[in-house]
């Protein structure tokens, strides 16, 4: 069950999967997919992790797209674990991604892991303004009505730590959507200095639950 949030005059649905849905614009935003992560680690470090995270992430995205019937998709950066990652992922995953993109207005925002364009359809941009919001990878302190990712925030409730959305009057930060992603506790100074005192943390999981952001 999603959590509905009124943000700069618009109703947004924070889905338990970690995706953000904007019903008025039929737009779905996800952040930090880190596709191709296991391949990059194998290439760089010698660790041979189970090579299924791209499949797992795409399955989740497929479900969210089917469920919301979104027509526009915005990926908020770090969609690929590095610029070479697309070459490393399985052909079947690549075709799957192309199928998801077909017939949808799809924007890839660049992140620190994927700082340049990727050989795949869709629009590539550093940031996207879609009134009243600005979508980008890393939050800009001077901005308002901003939706970003990058930090992989997580928070604990009832003894359990989960990826979460962070939201205050000015900005919203999305949790990491990719299967192989760790998290940064909301207590971290990087997040407590960025977010206002009255910020909320909306936890993902079986259902989205809002609590005051733990700090």
């Amino acid at each position: 069950m999603h959590h509905a949030l009124f943000f700069h005059g618009e109703t947004l649905h924070l889905l338990p999967s970690g995706a953000l849905y904007w019903p008025a614009r039929r737009t779905l935003a996800v952040s930090d997919l880190h596709l191709g992560k296991s391949e990059r680690l194998a290439r760089r470090g010698g660790m041979l992790l189970p090579p299924y995270e791209t499949q797992a992430t795409l399955e989740k995205l497929d479900r969210d797209l089917e469920h919301t019937r979104a027509e526009t998709v915005i990926c908020l950066g770090d969609s690929f674990d590095d610029l070479a990652a697309l070459n490393g992922i399985e052909e079947s995953s690549r075709l799957w991604l192309i199928r998801l993109m077909a017939g949808r207005d799809w924007t890839w925002i660049t992140g620190n892991h994927d700082p340049g364009p990727i050989d795949l359809g869709g629009t590539h941009r550093a940031e996207l303004r879609l009134h009243p919001f600005t979508f980008r990878h890393i939050a800009d302190e001077s901005e308002t009505a901003e939706i970003s990712g990058h930090y992989h925030p997580k928070a604990s409730l009832a003894g359990q730590s989960r990826p979460c959305f962070l939201a205050d009057a000015k900005r919203m930060i999305l949790p990491a959507y990719g299967a192989y992603t760790g998290g940064l506790r909301s207590h971290d100074p990087a997040l407590t200095t960025l977010m206002a005192r009255d910020a909320l943390a909306i936890l993902t999981g079986r259902r989205a639950l809002a609590i005051p952001m733990p700090r």
């Binding site: 296991s38 391949e39 194998a42 290439r43 470090g45 010698g46 660790m47 041979l48 992790l49 189970p50 090579p51 299924y52 995270e53 499949q55 797992a56 399985e90 930090y151 992989h152 604990s156 409730l157 009832a158 003894g159 359990q160 730590s161 990491a176 299967a179 192989y180 992603t181 760790g182 998290g183 940064l184 009255d198 909320l200 079986r206 259902r207 639950l209 809002a210 609590i211 005051p212």
Partner: protein, 797 residues
């Protein structure tokens, strides 16, 4: 038959030393390919192991490594070096003895590789590292003997499996290598002999007189419940004053801490007493060890960290606080007292609560009857084999058939099939996934029939991850001051996460106040005389042996209990009156409300691990029936489950087929399996150990092994590591065989008693740590309520 060099016999004679019969026997049998010596502590066991080496090396030995000594403890290698030095220097022998452990300096270790000593003292982990170097064959060329000390302890863990694989490598390099195992008393010497080598001679020394062992009598009876034995502090202090040196053993670190804290408050005579356990900083532990060796301490409060190790001749009393859990370990602990040969060891048992009085009585009966417990360990674990293959590849190219032939000479791997070996090799080489994704990035490649690392630079990283000891994720604790802080010890990361500034906890016997978490270090300040929030250390948890639980159930069946202290006899009568006592022919269940929750107690007496599994399986069924279980806790004799609704129809919960189905279904997603997977994944080399420094920079980059586990289960359910995890869990943390034994024993006799409140026998369960939450509807209901409350408190709802 070997004789000692005259200089050495003369020196022994001058000292007035004569060889014990088993030391003589070791010299006589020194040509045997493998010898297992079983002798009590204080019997000069280690010297017995080294005598043939000293005899063969003689006064002027040629250079080169002759004998390798492997011990489970670093501290022991340093101690042995000093002890061996005395006769070697005394007799003027030109024999070089050096130790090599994780604490040995880099330059020293380099020099040892270039120019090895005659006798090298080391640990299984350091040996693994040494064997992974390309020059291993040169270092070990000419090795004649290998001595494995405290082999009974090593054989109980993966460190032992790793060690025997290494012995098979060494034997491959030196076919005439002779092996010696030194062991304390064990229940099955032939099994340990097979573990050491295929054809092992067993030498058993005179076990010495029976120990002088009894239950400590106290003025106040033990409490109804709880652990730690703090009620007995006056009586224990009294015993300490009447003996030279006392070791006070506890089963967990947290209990040792609490006990030590209270002991100091009551230590009006200011007796010098120290504390020693695995979560204390190395500096702290070394200080206590040195004080102990110098005879400056009257007692040490300790845990299993002192089960093995340095012989302290002055220890004349061992006190075991809390249930002994296992008779063999108790007997070995008792052996820590009185290291003089042929003098009885003196020991006292202190039950921490009234239930433990019964277990202590059962243990006393067993020790007096000379029955020891012990369950066979089963075949060698494959995660250790994967690491062995990887380490072998670091040393240089190898032939798979030759390596397989070598591996099956190691006792635990004798029955390993070629097919199983090949699966391990494939995992190491390619990851072993159904989806062949890593053709370009495989770890091992085959060239001209021989396997080698694809990228030789990977060797450095692999070496960093060798070893089978898996630490829980801990954070260092430092006293905050202007000089950077005194290290106090470590706490578990999970525990640290529950702390907020101002919280207090116990470490190293002092109460400290949590100030902040900085760069993966918990900073604390001293705060005198405040009530501490207890530190939850993850001490090793042994399951009470079948031998002991059977004896306990027998004791319960008596009409009266003249052997037990009156208070305990009365308590058992009370339980009999209020509810009833468990017996071997039925399964007793108690159900009662307490503190706003419904509770169910399952008296299975199946040991901690099996009771835990029962908790997981039964809560799964309860969840299915909509009873909203919230969590459970397991001890060796019972499982306590709490939830929102009571159980009224228990039979379906204990149907063996349903439990088995649940096991398959559930084997899937619980915390115990994930914990097992994590160690397996680290040992097998799938993931790296988390190093303090790495974690600091890790942040978003690191993610938990739970995610990998869930992914594998979903996309590659037949993967080797999942098979290994299942095997490990079945024989270790899950222990399903004891559940099967239990259900076979009780048949259809399941007796549910509905009661109005907590029963005498159930009370101790409420004080057990390690409560396991059930993730389900009940917890969702609670989380929603809690979120609602938080939002209301913040004025947001």
């Amino acid at each position: 038959m070997t004789t000692l060099p005259p200089a050495l016999s003369d020196w022994f004679a001058a000292k007035g030393w004569t060889l014990h019969p088993h030391q003589r026997a070791m010299l006589d049998r020194s040509d045997d390919p493998a010898t297992l010596l079983i002798a009590p502590t204080g019997g000069g066991k280690t010297l017995a192991g080294f005598l043939p080496t000293l005899a063969e090396l003689g006064p002027n030995p040629p250079p080169g490594l002759h004998t390798l000594y492997v011990s489970p403890l670093k501290a022991l290698t340093a101690d042995i070096r000093r002890n061996l030095g005395t006769p070697i220097e005394g007799a003027g022998l030109k024999i070089r003895v050096e130790d090599r452990t994780g604490d040995t300096s880099y330059t020293q270790r380099r020099r040892q590789r270039a120019d090895p000593p005659h006798i090298l003292l080391t640990t299984p982990e350091s040996l693994a590292l040494l064997l992974s170097y390309e020059d291993a064959p040169r270092i070990f060329a000419g090795l004649k003997r290998v001595i494995v000390d405290e082999i009974h302890a090593l054989a109980e863990s993966k460190r032992g499996d790793q060690l025997v694989l290494q012995l098979s490598r060494l034997q491959g390099m030196n076919p005439t290598l002779r092996r010696v195992g030194l062991s304390a008393t064990v229940e099955n010497p032939p099994a340990l002999a097979r573990f050491l080598a295929p054809n092992t001679t067993i030498l058993e020394a005179d076990p010495g007189p029976d120990p002088d062992i009894s239950m400590l009598e106290t003025e106040a009876p033990p409490p109804w419940s709880g652990g730690g034995g703090r009620y007995a502090i006056p009586a224990i202090l009294n015993q300490v004053t009447r003996h030279k040196t006392t070791l006070i053993f506890h089963n967990t670190r947290a209990q040792a801490e609490l006990f030590f804290h209270d002991l100091w408050l009551q230590n009006t005579e200011d007796l010098p007493i120290g504390i020693h356990h695995g979560s204390l900083s190395r500096e702290q532990r070394e200080r206590v060890e040195q004080a102990m060796t110098a005879g400056a301490l009257r007692a040490v409060v300790c845990t299993g960290s002192l089960d093995l190790g340095i012989d302290w001749g002055d220890v004349d009393l061992v006190i075991q606080v809390g249930a002994p859990k296992n008779v063999k370990r108790l007997v070995q602990r008792i052996g820590r007292a009185n290291h003089r040969y042929n003098a009885p060891s003196k020991a006292l048992l202190v039950p921490a609560n009234r239930f433990e009085v019964v277990e202590c009585q059962a243990a006393l009966d067993a020790v007096r009857a000379h029955t020891l417990d012990g369950e066979p360990r089963g075949p060698g674990p494959k995660d250790v084999l994967c690491q062995h293959i990887l380490a072998t590849a670091c040393a240089g190219p190898f032939d798979a058939d030759a390596l397989y032939a070598e591996v099956i000479t190691a006792g635990p791997y004798a029955l390993l099939m070629k097919q199983e070996f090949d699966a391990c090799l494939d995992f190491v080489a390619t990851g072993g996934y159904a989806l062949k994704a890593y053709d370009r990035w495989r770890r091992l490649k085959q060239t001209a029939g021989r396997w080698h690392l694809r990228d030789p630079r990977a060797a450095a990283l692999i070496r960093q991850n060798l070893g089978t000891i898996i630490d829980t994720e801990t954070l260092k604790v430092r006293l905050k001051n202007q000089f950077g802080g005194t290290p106090l010890g470590e706490v578990e990361e999970d525990f640290a996460a529950t702390l907020t500034p101002g919280d207090t906890f116990l470490i190293g016997g002092q109460v400290v106040r949590y100030e902040s978490l900085r760069e993966m270090t918990v900073e604390v300040s001293r705060t005198p005389g405040r009530d501490p929030k207890v530190a939850v250390f993850n001490g090793t948890k042994f399951a009470t042996s079948t031998l002991l639980t059977d004896r306990i159930l027998e004791i319960f069946q008596q009409d009266s209990w003249p052997d037990l202290p009156a208070h305990t006899a009365w308590w058992l009568s009370l339980q009999r009156e209020v509810s009833r006592l468990p017996d071997p022919h039925s399964l007793l269940l108690e159900s009662f409300p307490h503190d706003g929750r419904e509770h169910l107690v399952i008296y299975g007496f199946a040991g901690r691990n099996a009771q835990q599994t029962l908790g997981l399986l039964v809560t799964k069924q309860m969840e299915f029936q909509g009873l909203a279980p919230l969590g459970f806790v397991a001890t060796d004799y019972a499982t306590l489950i709490w939830g929102l609704d009571p159980v009224t129809d228990p039979a379906p919960l204990f149907d063996l087929d349903t439990l088995r189905d649940g096991l398959d279904h559930w084997l899937a997603g619980n915390a115990v399996m994930k914990r097992t997977f994590r160690s397996t994944a680290i040992i097998a080399g799938l993931i790296e150990r988390t190093h303090q420094g790495r974690r600091k920079t890790g942040r978003q980059a690191t993610f938990s092994s739970d995610i990998l586990y869930d992914t594998l289960r979903r996309y590659d359910p037949d993967h080797l590591l999942l098979q290994i995890t299942r095997e490990e869990a079945m024989r270790g943390l899950i222990d399903f065989s004891r559940i099967e034994q239990l259900l076979a024993r009780v048949g259809p006799n399941i007796d549910l008693r509905r009661l109005s409140r907590v029963t005498p026998l159930a009370a101790p369960l409420f004080f057990e740590p390690s409560r396991i939450p059930v993730q389900g509807e009940g917890r969702d209901r609670l989380a929603m309520t809690q979120a609602q409350q938080l939002m209301e408190a913040a004025g947001l709802a």
